[in-house]
Every structure is written in structure tokens, then in C-alpha cells.
Amino acid sequence: MLKLTHISKTFNPGTVNEKRAISDLSLHVNKGDFITIIGSNGAGKSTLFNAIAGSFLTDSGRIELDGQDITLMAEHVRSRQIGRLFQDTRVGTAPGMTIEENLALSAGRGGWLSPISKADKKLFREKLAELQMGLEDRMKQPVGLLSGGQRQVIALLMSTLTTPKLLLLDEHTAALDPATAEKVLALTESIVNERKLTCMMITHNMESALKLGNRTFMMENGNIVLDVAGEKRSGLTVDDLLDEFRKVSGHRLDNDRILLS
């Protein structure tokens, strides 16, 4: 489904701030994979997503999505096939526009000059009702009035309205309170499973990294240092993962954002 071959990205090359954020990284994501990605701050996780989504051009290497070479494709063109959620709950939605308008925008159905159709409105209402958060009665309200968690749920719905070939979740529950984060995570899991989406999820929560999905990457210094799936993965515990981390990185995982709960 997704194939990266020898991707590299250096920020500010030739200056004192030179930073090799991705270094000669190759990976192959199979159709239907749900990959969780862990790694310390600055390991290059977000940069990897940015490279896949096309926020910048990689310095070298090739990116293929579903057999198509997208290395040079513009970000907004890739976005038709790649859904994306960020840690910042304000990024995914337009606050001044209503829930309905936000959903319509990402559904992208009908001609450019056609208004939101009745059928779409009905569909949005059903999808919102499924969430059981009462959002179906607030479709005419601006998204800016919603809480961060509600906004993230809308954003999740938006990026999966049309089935994306790939869903990239960058710590999308990190800014939420534990209960809401739990809820959004459960919703994410059910959507991904139900729709059989191919998904990559960055998280700092070791437990959900092992619990969710079928495959786990650990990143360090701009590369993938651990790629586990199947039986090997199901036998892993959080402690094993931490041990593994110590081994590959040579230092303790003294990252305050990693939750062991």
C-alpha cells in the first residue's frame, strides 16, 4: 500500500541548525495495516508523516502509495487519498464554519458550485448520531464552540468520510483529558477496523501502542529501529518495549510524555 524507499530529509542544510530528521528510511506498509509508532521527542515521527503527506519534498528517495509514485505530488493532491489528524485540535477543523459545513468540505461531493445536498445532510446526521455525543443536534453550530475532544472527533469523522487510502494520526489524543482520549481512541479503533483502513498512529502511550493495531514501529534518530508484528508483538509487554528502547537508543527513556499507566 505505502512504500518508502531510502527517504532522507535534512532541515536547514549547511547551517549551524542543520538537522537530519529522517535518514535513509525505507518502509513497507501493507494494505489494512494499523501501525502504531513510538519514539522519543525529536525521533522524526512527525517528520515522517509530513514527508508522506507531502508537507515538504524529501531530499532523496521515493514514496509510493497504492502503486502510484507520489514523491513529487503536491500536498493538497495527496490529501485526497491521505487523511490526517494532529495533536493540536484546532488544526483539523475550520472554527468559523458549522459542523455541517466542515463535514461537507471534507466529503467533497457534488460539483464545485453545488450546495450541500439533502442526502449528505442526512448522512452527516447519521454519522454524528452514531457517536452518541449529541453532535447531530448541533450541526448548524460553528465548530469553534466545541470542546477540543469534540473537535477532534469531528476531524476524525472528516478525514474518514471518504475512505482514505492511508490515515495518519499524529498523537491525535495527546491534548485531550484521559477520559476523552480513551473515547476518541476507541472511536478511532472502531472506525479503522470497521472500514478496514490502512492507518499509522504516533503515540507516546506504550500501552495503547501495543494494544491497538497489528504492528508497531519504534523510531530513533530519523529511522525505524524496531518493527514488530504478529506473534512477536503479541508477546511484548510495555516493559519489554522500554528495554528494547534502551537497547536501541543506548539511553533510558526519560521522556516525561511517555505514559506507563
Partner: protein, 309 residues
């Protein structure tokens, strides 16, 4: 003041306010929706007046309307091209185009003044059609109302289409648009083209209505329109798109009304621009200062608390 002079005062304010409201609607699209402060508005307004005037003088008052809108669109295309494709800051792009338009406008007009006293205009045409009806004396208002209604309806419908939503999202959350399938270059270009078509139309109608075009006809328009827009926002800022568009028109009328009344009370006409600037300052700085107020109060309290000891 007797009843008749009050009525004629109201009528003037209504006519000029509504003609100007098309520029306010233009800014509603560019400033409120697309979040771009388009400083080419003055030049574009004059361009609409100049192109519209010249075409009308050549005997085609209706074609003049379309020509003025087309010219406005072209000017909007240049502004948006400069900021989306040439890496020029959006404020600077507007200023540059505004400056360039001064030359363009004189070239179009052939001088710095066009006299259209004997020219057939959309207003004189309407005057002919309405002769003998009860609207006989309101012919100007009828023409203007038709255009303003069309513009409001257009915006209310357009801003709810998929393209309209994309344009609004571009202004509302650039970060979201960046990672969505919307191409902000396209939405900015289309938004500014449409916005400037409205400015051009506004200029053209003013030219045909007052039967003359002066090279300075558009000067200060952007501030006046912004003041009107912000007045409208104060009334209808939180409503639906339709309400807000109507609010822009109401704001234009209110601004004109206040100005016309002030003229009656012997405020010199040259004060118009100062007044519009002050309104814009108050409307934008007001909310900011209000948000600072609690901090200032706390500081004062702390100071006086120390003084007590």
C-alpha cells in the same frame, strides 16, 4: 429640517450607501471570508468607474457594467497571482497593484476626468422606463437595489457551495486547508477575482450615477468600506452568512447616513476620510482594548494595594 429635506437626505444616504455597499460586500468576501486585506480596493474602484465610464460614453451602458466587473476581476487576478505565485506579501501585493492602477486608470480615461453629462447610463435608462409610474423619482434606487440584491443573493448562495466553503475555509483555518485537499492558491485567486468584480461594479455604478469620473473617485474607499463592514459586523457579526452579508449592506447605509447627517450639521466634506479611519480604528482596537482591560485593572489594583501599605 422639514419632512421633505429629511426624506431627500435619507434618499441620498440610501443611494450612496447602497452603491458603496457593493464594495463593502467585496471586502466581506476578501476580508471577512478569505482573511485577506486587499489594499488594491481604491484603485480597483476607480478602475471600475473608469472602464465603466468609457464604455458607457461609447454608448453601451449595460456592457459598461460587465466591462467594469471584468476589469475588476482582472485586477483581482493580478493581486492574487502576486501573492500566491510570486511570493509577495498580500498587503504589499495590494499596494503595488493599487499604485499601478493609477497609471492604468489614467490611460483608460485618457485624462484624469471623464464627463458623462450627456451619456446614457443604466440610471437614465431606468428613468425612461419608470416614467409615469409611482417609482418615477426613485429610479436610481431601483437600479441600485437590483444590483445590491443580486450581489447579496449571489454571495449567500455562492458561499454555501462547495467552492464557497473551500474559500471560507481558506480564510478560517489556513493550517487545516494546508493539509486538506483544498488548493489555497485556487481559492484565493477565485475569491479575490469575485471580490474585485464587485468593487469594479461599485465604481461603475457610482460613475454612472454621478455622471462623472474623477481619477480620485476611489481614494479612501478601502477604509470607508472597512468601516461600513465593521459597523455591519457590530449588528450582524454572529449570524448566518446571509445575515452577515445583509449586515454589510446595512453597515454601508448606516455609515453613509451618519456621514450625511454630519454634513448637515456643517461637518466639512473633507472630514469623510478622517471619520472613516477613526471608525475602523475604534472597531478593530475596541475589542482588543476591552480584552486588555482586566489586566490593566489588576495592575491598577496592585499599585493602589501597595500604596495602602
Amino acid at each position: 429640517m422639514d419632512f421633505n429635506s429629511v426624506m431627500s437626505l435619507l434618499q441620498t444616504a440610501l443611494e450612496l450607501g447602497l452603491i458603496g455597499s457593493l464594495t463593502v460586500l467585496s471586502l466581506f468576501l476578501s476580508y471577512s471570508m478569505l482573511n485577506v486585506c486587499d489594499l488594491s480596493t481604491d484603485g480597483c474602484f476607480t478602475l471600475g468607474a473608469a472602464v465603466g465610464g468609457v464604455v458607457a460614453i461609447s454608448g453601451h451602458p449595460i456592457l459598461a457594467i460587465f466591462a467594469a466587473m471584468g476589469a475588476g476581476m482582472l485586477s483581482g487576478l493580478v493581486v492574487s497571482f502576486l501573492q500566491t505565485k510570486m511570493g509577495i506579501d498580500s498587503l504589499l501585493a495590494g499596494i503595488i497593484v493599487n499604485t499601478a492602477l493609477y497609471s492604468v486608470n489614467i490611460a483608460v480615461m485618457g485624462s484624469s476626468l471623464l464627463n458623462m453629462n450627456k451619456t446614457e447610463t443604466v440610471f437614465t435608462m431606468m428613468q425612461g422606463w419608470l416614467k409615469g409610474t409611482f417609482l418615477e423619482n426613485q429610479y436610481k434606487l431601483v437600479v441600485i437595489l437590483i444590483f445590491v440584491t443580486l450581489a447579496v443573493v449571489f454571495l449567500a448562495v455562492f458561499l454555501r457551495t462547495r467552492l464557497g466553503l473551500a474559500i471560507r475555509a481558506t480564510g478560517d483555518n489556513p493550517a487545516m486547508v494546508k493539509s486538506s485537499s483544498i488548493n489555497p492558491v485556487i481559492t484565493t485567486i477565485i475569491g479575490l477575482c469575485l471580490s474585485n468584480a464587485l468593487t469594479g461594479l461599485s465604481g461603475c455604478l457610482l460613475a454612472q450615477s454621478q455622471k462623472s469620473v474623477n481619477i480620485d473617485i476611489g481614494s479612501g474607499m478601502v477604509t470607508i468600506a472597512l468601516a461600513s463592514l465593521l459597523i455591519g459586523n457590530a449588528f450582524f457579526g454572529r449570524g448566518s452568512i446571509t445575515k452577515r452579508a445583509i449586515g454589510a449592506v446595512v453597515g454601508a447605509f448606516v455609515f453613509r447616513l451618519v456621514y450625511t447627517i454630519a454634513l448637515r450639521f456643517n461637518m466639512p466634506a473633507f472630514m469623510l476620510k478622517l471619520v472613516s479611519s477613526v471608525i475602523v480604528i475604534i472597531a478593530i482596537a475596541g475589542p482588543y482594548l476591552r480584552s486588555r482591560l482586566p489586566i490593566l485593572q489588576r495592575k491598577l489594583q496592585l499599585k493602589s494595594g501597595k500604596g495602602d501599605k
